[in-house]
């Protein structure tokens, strides 16, 4: 059986499983639709939260980022796990006690203000669509590469599957499908990692393999990697290129942003009790840890394998014509590109730019060795004492997907990776689509426009808005705006600078009032959006070069949510001091959510 057929079978089987679960877990009430009836077991909720959280970015992109950033990649590892500590200790139990359906609903009631609720809805929708676009792109990449269908067909299939279980099952369908998707994705991620770890170090556990000696006797893996990459002119793998302040700020922004993401918070509304919410966050992090502690090993091994394969045993490069077949397949999809700077017919990989920016190809034209012709080569100079100029462009996003092929693993492992990538993307997309539809039907339609809507009609509006959200997500996936990669900084920055501080103060500061919360949120938002636009220019041209010399305190746009958060706290605090205290019943509400026992 060839790889394509096998991949079709594995991916097809996983889809059938998801659809079967959706039929079994159909939503019958708004309670089912928004919070899965509030009866999900904490371990199941932990698994669902893990699948919800681990997106195409975690599954496909993160290990690739670590492979190329080395120590600098730690911001993602710490940032995207440390947020769960904040969530479990500071938010989840209290929001569960509050016991409603959506995040804007909490903000609206706590601050006795429809304006606050509306600002929260706007943040939520912006954050969630930003994220969904990225998931859909992930689905597209996997489909076009492994199933060799065009991206639109792949997207339509993915949208169809999500449509089926999100619209039909609501939160209940999504929760149980996510449990299955977690199992698929963690199996798909760890199996190849174990294979490669054994191949390179002889140790099966990737977490240990990262600190072990390589089997050819050339010393510890990380020492070898440090030496190999510095010889090629890169910064040592275990040293960072980011400044300490920037590492710090990015980690804060990612942690706080994680804790403030609505689709993650809402998962803790689905468990029966306050103590389940505390424990469930622990289970979620346990399931996430399995992948997140494997990722650094995958990254390091992938980097080493790539260098070994490309530069060959003598370190002088490998002839293009004798590169393994994965090289050409990824070149065909435009994610690998080669320009023969020194004209020796060999592919060489070192520090420095092989091309000016992203590679541009001359259609399907082939050069003398059969390679795709690149029209924007760089000057081709060796940098930092490297023995040759870099001739190879490798997109970071392919590292996890190509890794099993680079390491020559069996075909079924490669098919599994495809199913895992799709599971990661679909589970996150579904969770996001649900919070979007819930905030439209519950916060906007029921909360603001038609307070007397019947439960049946509200459920109907929820389903219709989920369907619309899927169509918009599909459109964004098919026509990815050029700024998808850049707006991820937005999603975390906004969550960190707007939602997290107001929720936190709503629980821990009884004196915090409407005026303080709204002004804090707006200042945090405007500052963070302004800073990111200033350097990244998402809809406009950037107003200054995005380089450390120009940054405020040396903090990059990725980390600016940290400052946005501080401003939010500061402004809210000062404003609440000079305006009147919140009404009596709100102070009682705060006292009430602080204790688990119903009063």
């Amino acid at each position: 059986m060839d790889l394509k057929t096998l991949t079709y079978i594995v991916v097809g089987a996983s889809f059938l499983l998801y659809i079967g679960i959706a039929i079994w877990a159909k939503a019958r009430s708004t309670n089912d639709f928004y919070v899965a009836g509030g009866g999900v077991h904490p371990v199941a909720n932990g698994m669902a939260t893990a699948a919800d959280w681990m997106s195409a970015a975690s599954f496909i992109s993160m290990a690739g980022l670590i492979a190329f950033l080395g120590y600098g990649g730690s911001v993602y590892l710490m940032g995207w796990t440390g947020g769960y500590v904040l969530l479990a200790l500071l938010l989840a139990p209290y929001l569960r006690k509050f016991g409603k359906f959506t995040v804007p609903e909490f903000i609206g009631e706590r601050y006795y203000s429809q304006t606050a609720r509306l600002v929260a809805v706007v943040c939520l929708i912006f954050i969630s669509f930003t994220y969904v676009a990225g998931q859909m792109r992930g689905v597209g990449i996997v489909f076009s590469r492994f199933l060799e269908v065009d991206i639109i067909t792949g997207l339509l299939i993915g949208m169809g599957v999500v449509f089926f279980y999100a619209v039909l099952g609501g939160m209940k369908g999504i929760t149980y499908t996510q449990v299955a998707q977690y199992c698929v994705l963690i199996f798909a991620y760890t199996v190849p990692a174990v294979f490669i770890a054994i191949e390179v170090t002889g140790v099966a556990l990737p977490q240990i393999a990262l600190g072990s000696e390589v089997v050819d006797g050339s010393g510890y893996l990380l020492d070898k990697l440090d030496k190999v990459v510095t010889d090629l002119g890169f910064t040592a793998y275990t040293q960072g290129t980011k400044s300490t302040i920037d590492m710090f700020a990015i980690t804060v922004a990612l942690m706080v942003g994680t804790a403030g993401l609505p689709h993650v918070i809402v998962r803790f509304f689905t468990v029966p009790k306050v103590r389940d919410a505390r424990k469930s966050a622990g289970w979620a992090l346990l399931f996430i840890t399995l992948l997140y502690t494997t990722a650094p090993a995958v990254g390091a091994l992938a980097r080493l394998n790539l260098i070994d394969t490309v530069n060959g045993a003598d370190g002088q490069g490998t002839a293009y014509t004798s590169m393994p077949s994965w090289f050409q397949t990824w070149e065909n999809s435009g994610l690998i590109a080669w320009y023969d700077h020194n004209g020796d017919g060999k592919v060489q990989y070192a520090a420095g730019k092989p091309m000016e920016g992203k590679p541009k190809f001359e259609g399907e034209t082939r050069g003398t060795h059969g390679e795709r012709v690149v029209t924007n080569p760089s000057k081709g100079e060796a940098v930092n004492g490297a023995p040759f100029a870099n001739e190879l462009h490798v997109d970071r996003d392919i590292m996890v997907l190509a890794n099993p092929e680079i390491a020559n693993l069996p075909m079924w492992v490669i098919a599994l990776i495809a199913a895992g990538g799709i599971a990661a993307a679909l589970s996150t997309a579904a969770g996001l689509l649900l919070v979007i539809s819930a905030s439209i039907s519950h916060d906007i339609v029921k909360g603001m426009l038609r307070p007397n809507i019947s439960e049946r009609n509200e459920l109907m509006v929820g389903r219709i808005s989920a369907a619309f959200a899927i169509l918009i997500a599909g459109y964004l996936g098919a026509n990815p705006p050029a700024f998808v990669a850049q707006v991820v900084a937005f999603a975390f920055g906004l969550a960190a600078s707007s939602l997290f501080p107001v929720i936190l103060m709503g629980i821990f500061n009884k004196r915090m009032n409407r005026e303080g919360a709204i002004s804090g949120m707006l200042v945090g938002l405007v500052f963070t959006i302004g800073y990111i636009l200033y350097f990244k220019g998402v809809f406009i041209t950037p107003m200054a070069a995005n380089i450390p010399e120009n940054w405020l305190f040396g903090i990059s746009p990725e980390g600016i949510g940290f400052i946005g958060m501080l401003l939010n706290f500061l402004v809210a605090f000062v404003v609440s001091k000079v305006t009147s205290a919140p009404p009596e019943h709100i102070q009682h509400l705060v006292e009430d959510i602080r204790v688990p026992k119903a009063s």
Binding site: G82, T238, M247, F248, G282, R594, P596
Partner: protein, 85 residues
């Protein structure tokens, strides 16, 4: 339950939070970022200690912290008689 019990429970919770969040801060921002150079002087197996905390160790500590907090809070809930039925 009386307001005094509630307040005492809340203060106990805040003390526990302060301890947990200090550990959370030290293992990630402390060991993984601010003190990484110093800790990298220490090697355990093939790992430099600072690098290990940044890419593995801090995550394990996060995990222990959440389960510890959850266990300790359940105790406090009973001690102050504010637990759910």
């Amino acid at each position: 339950m009386s307001d005094d019990t509630k307040q005492a429970y809340w203060r106990a919770n805040l003390r526990l939070l302060a301890w947990c969040l200090s550990i959370w801060f030290v293992v990630s921002y402390g060991f993984g970022i601010l003190l990484v150079e110093q800790l990298n002087q220490i090697k355990i197996g093939g790992f430099m200690l600072g690098f290990w905390f940044a890419q593995q160790g801090s995550i394990y500590v996060f995990l222990l912290l959440i389960f510890f907090y959850s266990w300790r809070m359940n105790q406090l809930d009973r001690q102050y008689n504010v637990h759910e039925d």
